[in-house]
């Protein structure tokens, strides 16, 4: 039973990282129906930017007290901003001209973008795994034989806060309304005076900024990064977004946590090598019985 609880904790924290990436996937899909394969790499780029910012701040180990808050806020804000800019640039350079092209064209471009980012990162920091400094103190809270680490709480907390903030933004602000309108019918939105280019750029800005935040947390959580990490993480996060109902923010979150849990429990009770098989089998089953995903609706209620 203790092991089961411990694995639930492992699964939920892993799911938190998937959820953060999945939010960006689902936003972009929701608004322009593009599977942005470069998104996983923007997430890895977030870890790289965080590393660079920590390097500029001269942080190499655990910091405490008020400095910790400053360091974390500066790093996370910097990584979000830089990733957001990268996201907007990707949209402007690679996707905007293909917006009305056949579906396959932007999809292939997205894959190409992913390769470009991976190779740029490899060029920047080398091909090897890179250690990430232990910035955040990591006390473990022990309850019985179950242990929760501070960084696990950080991951889950950040994912939930981001999801709620995003939900609030999309449903309670003018810009959010513009995003929903663009998602529903781009041409009609344009006729109503919405600047769809700005709105789509904004979507990329927010989605990529979230990936930047996820990048920072994953660096802290795993203590290392690698230019190729975004490939596998992006694939899982995309699966999470589809599982939850692509285009649906709460769904992306739910999907992320579910996939994390399935992976952890499969590892414990079946074996590690089957975890991907089980994850994708669950995806197939869900799509057979609920083609729109767990929280997806057949009516467009996207972004």
């Amino acid at each position: 039973m203790d092991v089961f609880l411990q694995q639930l904790i492992n699964g939920i924290s892993l799911g938190g990282i998937y959820a953060l990436i999945a939010l960006g996937y689902t936003m972009v899909y929701g608004i322009i129906e593009l599977i942005n394969f470069a998104h996983g790499d923007v997430y890895t780029l977030g870890t790289f930017f965080s590393l660079a910012i920590l390097g500029l701040l001269g942080v190499t180990g655990v910091v405490t007290g008020p400095t910790l808050i400053v360091v974390v806020l500066v790093t996370i804000a910097g990584a979000m901003l830089l990733c957001g800019i990268v996201g907007v640039l990707i949209e402007r350079l690679a996707y905007r001209r293909l917006r009305n092209a056949p579906r396959l064209a932007p999809l292939i471009t997205a894959i190409g973008m992913s390769f470009i980012l991976e190779n740029l990162m490899q060029y920047w920091r080398g091909p090897s795994p890179i250690p990430f400094p232990d910035v955040v103190p990591n006390p473990a809270f022990v309850a019985g034989s179950v242990t929760i680490q501070a960084k696990q709480i950080l991951v889950v907390l950040l994912a939930v806060v981001m999801m709620i903030a995003l939900q609030a933004f999309v449903y309670n602000t003018r810009l959010g309304k513009a995003m929903r309108a663009t998602a529903q019918d781009r041409d009609a939105a344009q006729l109503m005076g919405i600047d769809i280019n700005t709105t789509i750029a904004l979507t990329f800005l927010i989605g990529s900024a979230l990936a930047g935040a996820a990048g920072f947390v994953s660096g802290v959580y795993y203590g290392s990064t690698w230019f190729f990490n975004g490939f596998a993480a992006g694939l899982k996060a995309f699966t999470a977004a589809v599982l939850g109902g692509i285009g649906n923010l709460a769904g992306a979150m739910l999907g992320g946590f579910l996939i994390g849990l399935i992976e952890a429990l499969t590892t414990q009770f079946i074996s590690d090598e089957w975890s991907n098989v089980v994850v994708f089998s669950v995806l197939v089953l869900v799509l057979i019985f609920r083609p729109a995903g767990l929280l997806g609706e057949s009516l467009p209620n996207k972004v």
Partner: protein, 417 residues
């Protein structure tokens, strides 16, 4: 879709570059065999190693070892100055990881070039698996500095790799096999007093091969294997797996695999599940500086074997270590001396073939039979020779332990063959 002028220019430029590359390589290889640089015919030695990606950390120093051998041979007036040796260096990593298909393509390139008389490489066993049938078919002598998987040289699997010319052995290696490495590691684990071990491998030819030897060998010595799990490609999170291992309270965790497949991450995450004090053991795949860098303070309590002697500690390697340092301004890698030895053997075989043939460019077959006949060859890594399968007759293994972030040599064993 309308093409922008920039896009159009880029495509044209790309095509031009591709054409230039094609014509460049054809003019480079087409006239070889009797090709000459300054009147002296050139003989090429192919090198196929992973030179970018996570494996580059070990691939590049290995490549440098082979280059040094060729440069020294030229400087010493190879074949009385009648021939000049050069290297053709090919990279078998794709997207930062060693790739069997890329390796096979590289070997095809080498075979198509008549001036190539022998090759050094590859680094990884799964790449070798794709390459052996090709070098076997072309009778091109191939010596790997580092492949340790058993199935490359012995058993039915090896026979299947050599099916086009079953009687020809074209693939050799100067390092020892996993069955010897795995067995040595099991004995070492027992000597350290471990009774219960949890085994994890990366499901690749090398990693799983090593773990599959270690597992029964450790049981045979009376130890208990608590579990044996295979991780998946590009896996980043091992906390669930390690949580499962922790509940079984192992004396140590054994990892079969490379740093690029998770060797350092598994160790790093052992701290997260409260296994920081549990020792960690692996093969030569985790015996890299990269492992030490990524695992950081967690690298302590790690034990690993190298399928090579610790060249820095061998009297026979003193001259090599100094020459390497002088040429590349860096310390040798774990397999630099092996690659140097592999290239030396090939150069000697080519030199002998030239002499036997009265000073003409030798055939690949002549070079191959000289390589196969290598015995009692004095090299930095000791006296080397090949058995009937192409395996080294003098397998030396080094066992290392990481203490305060630095690997120290715990034992050096010459195994009985």
């Amino acid at each position: 879709m309308r093409w922008s002028p920039i896009l159009r220019a880029a495509v044209v430029a790309g095509l031009t570059a591709a054409l230039a590359a094609c014509s460049g390589s054809s003019s480079g290889s087409g006239s070889s065999g009797g090709s000459s640089s300054g009147g002296i015919p050139t003989i090429e030695i192919g090198i196929d190693l992973p030179l970018n990606g996570a494996d580059a950390a070990v691939g590049v120093p290995t490549k440098n070892g082979a280059i040094l051998a060729v440069e020294q041979a030229n400087a010493a007036g190879f074949a009385g100055g009648k021939f000049k040796l050069t290297t053709i260096i090919l990279d078998d990593s794709v997207q930062g990881k060693h790739d069997p298909a890329a390796g096979a393509q590289n070997v095809k390139t080498l075979i198509a070039d008549p001036a190539v008389l022998a090759m050094v490489g590859p680094y990884n066993s799964n790449v070798a698996k794709a390459e052996i049938p090709l070098t076997n078919d072309a009778a091109l002598a191939q010596i790997s500095p580092s492949n340790t998987n058993d199935k490359l040289t012995i058993g039915d699997a090896a026979k299947a790799l050599r099916s086009s010319h079953p009687d020809t052995i074209a693939y050799f290696r100067v390092c020892t096999r996993d069955s010897r490495q795995g067995t040595a590691l099991a004995q070492f684990a027992q000597r350290l007093g471990w009774k219960k071990i949890y085994v994890i491998d990366d499901n690749e030819t090398y990693g799983k091969g090593l773990a599959d030897v270690f597992d029964p060998a450790f049981r045979a010595l009376g130890g208990t294997i608590l579990g044996h799990d295979h991780i998946t490609a590009n896996q980043q999170d091992f906390k669930a797996l390690l949580t499962k291992a922790k509940t079984l309270q192992p004396d140590a965790v054994f990892y079969g695999g490379d740093v690029s497949t998770g060797g350092a991450l598994v160790r790093l995450q052992m701290a997260d599940v409260g296994m920081a004090a549990v020792p960690y053991m692996g093969g030569d795949g985790i015996g890299t500086t990269e492992f030490l860098k990524v695992a950081g303070p967690m690298a302590d309590h790690t034990y690993y074997s190298l399928a090579a002697p610790d060249a820095a500690k061998l009297p026979s390697a003193t001259a090599f270590v100094a020459a390497y340092r002088k040429r590349f301004n860096a310390d040798i890698g774990a397999y630099s001396a092996n690659a140097y030895t592999a290239a030396m053997i090939e150069i000697t075989a080519i030199g002998k073939a030239i002499k036997d043939d009265g000073g003409t460019t030798p055939t690949r077959a002549a070079v191959l039979s000289n390589v196969a006949a290598t015995t009692g060859f004095a090299s930095p890594i000791g006296t080397v020779g090949f058995d009937a399968n192409g395996d080294t007759t003098a397998p030396i293994l080094t066992l290392k332990q990481v203490v305060h972030g630095k690997p120290i040599t715990v034992a050096q064993l010459t195994l009985k063959t």
